[in-house]
Amino acid sequence: MLTQLRKQLFECRVLVVGAGGIGCELIKNLVMTGFHNIELVDLDTIDVSNLNRQFLFRKEHVGQSKAKVAKENALRFNPDVNILARHDSIINPDYDVDYFRQFTIVLNALDNRAARNHVNRMCLAADVPLIESGSAGYLGQVTVIKKANFLYNNYGETECYECQPKPTQKSYPSCTIRNTPTEPIHCIVWAKHLFNQLFAELDEDNEVTPDAEDPEATDANKQIDQGSDSNLKISTRPWAESVGYDPQLLLRKLFQDDIKYLLKMDKLWQKRKPPVPLDFDNLLEGDSCFINDNTVLKDQLVWNIHECVQEFLHSVTSLKKRLEMSKSYLIWDKDDDVAMHFVASSANVRAHVFGIPLKSLFDVKSMAGNIIPAIATTNAIVAGLIVTEALKILKGRLDLCRTVIMYKNNLTMKKLIIPCLLEKPNKGCYVCSSKPEVCIRINIDDITIRHLGEEILKKRIGMIAPDVEVDDGSGIILISSEEGETEDIINCKLSQFGIRNGSQLKADDFLQNYSLKLKVIHEYVLMPPRLLFISSSKLTIVKSIIFTAIL
């Protein structure tokens, strides 16, 4: 290797974000290649399902910090390397622009878009080159993101991570989930919401009780005698608390009383197959699902309805105990066995009620946990590609850098690893363009300040702690990142602050060093499910993003 490059490797400082599948391989490659100063950040702990690929971890490490164990193990490759491991979220405000600026290069080995968006912005603000990566099954991708910089021979203005809108996660209309499920996934989403309603931090959205305001049922709705259904007026959590989380009573309410109430909205069932409330006296013992077939895992067997009900009762009992012990609330996690049994059993009982095919625990886990299959080889290759791109950047040869895509081998394709030229930035990008701007299509009489902050600016736009003011010279502050300053107006509608069609808002995120202008387009027709469009104001409609906002 060239002596000069060796010296650069020794002197440069590298930040690795993520010590998971790609991260473990990456750290090994960096240490072996001769990188000498490495900082590693990961907030996650080790799970047994990581062990098929995250080779720096062993069974006895389960539950420990990924960053810390990865560091200890990587030092065995070369004890002289400086590795600083942080068991922390990269979104923590301690990691500000100055923090990012100390690195020669930042390498992303992340598994979620929120963190990728954030690191993208921090690297743009700090003007540090970023290598972004990802893998899914046999597929992998690596790309280089670098703000324009004259040091690199005026070459090197690349697309940023957010230049092209990414497909948003699929969401389902609230009434499909609450009233009229037709597919297993609808029941699974409902079951996850149910977990949160019962055991997690209180969430006013994502209610699971029948929705009497379903537009499809509005006429019928009026005829319902609400007096006898007083249960429905209380949301799920207080009701469950009032009966001490009695599993039998919960079962009866969710799968019998609520279903009977739904049946009263007869308009819903004119063209649909109506649900059948759970019949407690005739729960078919049925065939046990146990079959002596060793080509199937135990979790891949589908429970019969009797087993579903038993699983439901058991899991509610254990979760109730856990809730009492914790003194606060529980967090849903796909790798938590009891929580997973709860979701699978309640989803399946609901599916049974609605005549939808039941799913095995194994399949429910895939869907509920959005599990992306992951194998060692793909991650090893992706991590190798990251380091080859990093070496090009260190050599000052950004012109040689590529987006590298890894495909699955098939008979028609001759290339498994394909280089593509880096794209130029999107001039209308709402993150990296010189004056970022977006249009939001919302109903100003309907959207609250809280919704603007939480759903639009944080979840959708990816800000961490936004400050928002009306951009008309009045200086009205809608949202302040200082705690408590705008707490009192958080439930007010936007129209109460003189915001009209065509108004402009200015949103700033101090941490990300990011300022965004929002143009409001009032859509008074937006009704549930409320569709909300966000688009870069300089882009055509093709690139606009549609998503459902549930208030």
């Binding site: 290797m1 391989e25 090994k28 490659n29 072996m32 290649t33 001769g34 047994v48 399902s49 062990l51 098929n52 690929r53 080779f55 062993r58 069974k59 065995r76 490759f77 070369n78 004890p79 099954g137 046999y138 060793n294 080509t295 199937v296 895992l297 135990k298 979790d299 891949q300 895939s366 599990i371 299959p373 992951a374 194998i375 060692a376 080889t377 793909t378 090893a380 290759i381 991590a383 190798g384 590609l385 990251i386 380091v387 080859t388 791109e389 070496l391 040689l400 590529r402 590298v404 890894m406 081998n409 008979l411 394709m413 001759k414 290339k415 498994l416 690893i417 394909i418 280089p419």
Partner: protein, 262 residues
């Protein structure tokens, strides 16, 4: 036999990709890995993580300074020891469900019956003369006469193929296979010009000869990943392996599959 709960938990994320049947076939597979260089270490790691029945590491050579930059299974203070033996401990730590053993014999001295106990043999870092002990076809494929290629075919052929031919020829003449001996680019250029004549620079630009010394860990990771994936494909009998060569060009970040045959 069904997969145990333990196996189902550890291999969950890959069973979701290739299914229980494939995982069971992998679990029954016995493999021999010959050559524990940087590439061998990567293949070893990937295959052991995947969960085969047993893996035998075969290598009669001792690790050298070169291995320090690529062979992560050998602890730094064990450089100088036999590569198979020195790799054994860390290979075992990768996955306690796999039986791993080491053998220090020279691959050329082992009888055919030795190889028959394995479902698959994988060789890393050997020249074509050793390989033809087991696979005569590889030698033939490498002797393919590129002059018979049509011009379009020639353009498509990876430069790495021609580089491989040069290095192979160079090793033959010098009766050595140490990467250190490649340091003198003029020697390599001489071999290249003799092999390819007037087409030399077109088939294999000089820059490739300047960049083929030493071994780079990320390149081992990439090629080792593709190679291990092919091992897995073969052992799990799920799909056809690469047909029949894979070339990776780090300058271009390009990996191509090429069918070379007589």
């Amino acid at each position: 036999m069904a997969l145990t709960e333990d196996e189902a938990a550890v291999y969950d994320r890959q069973i979701r990709l290739w299914g229980v049947e494939a995982q069971k076939r992998l679990r029954d597979a016995k493999m021999l890995l010959v050559g524990l260089d940087g590439l061998g270490a990567e293949v070893c790691k990937n295959v052991v993580l995947t969960g085969i029945k047993s893996l035998t590491l075969l290598d009669d050579q001792c690790s050298c300074e070169d291995d320090r930059m690529v062979q992560f299974l050998i602890p730094p203070d064990c450089i100088g020891q036999n590569r198979a033996i020195a790799s054994l401990q860390r290979a075992k730590e990768l996955n306690p469900l796999v039986e791993i053993s080491a053998c220090t014999d020279n691959v050329d001295t082992l009888p055919d019956s030795y190889f028959q106990q394995f479902d698959l043999v994988c060789m890393c870092g050997y020249t074509k003369n050793t390989m033809d002990v087991d696979y005569v076809e590889i030698k033939k494929a490498l002797q393919v006469d590129y002059k018979l290629f049509r011009p379009t075919r020639l353009r498509r052929t990876s430069k790495v193929f021609f580089l491989m031919k040069v290095i192979d020829e160079f090793y033959q003449r010098n009766k050595s296979s140490s990467t250190d001996s490649l340091a003198d680019v003029d020697n390599l250029k001489h071999v290249r010009d003799e092999l390819f004549g007037d087409d030399s620079e077109k088939l294999l630009p000089l820059s490739y000869l300047q960049n083929c010394q030493g071994k780079l860990n990320p390149i081992c990771a990439i090629v080792g990943g593709i190679l291990a994936q092919d091992v897995i494909k073969a052992l799990s009998a799920r799909e056809a392996p690469v047909n029949n060569f894979f070339f990776y060009d780090g300058n271009k970040s390009e990996g191509v599959v090429d069918k070379l045959c007589l």
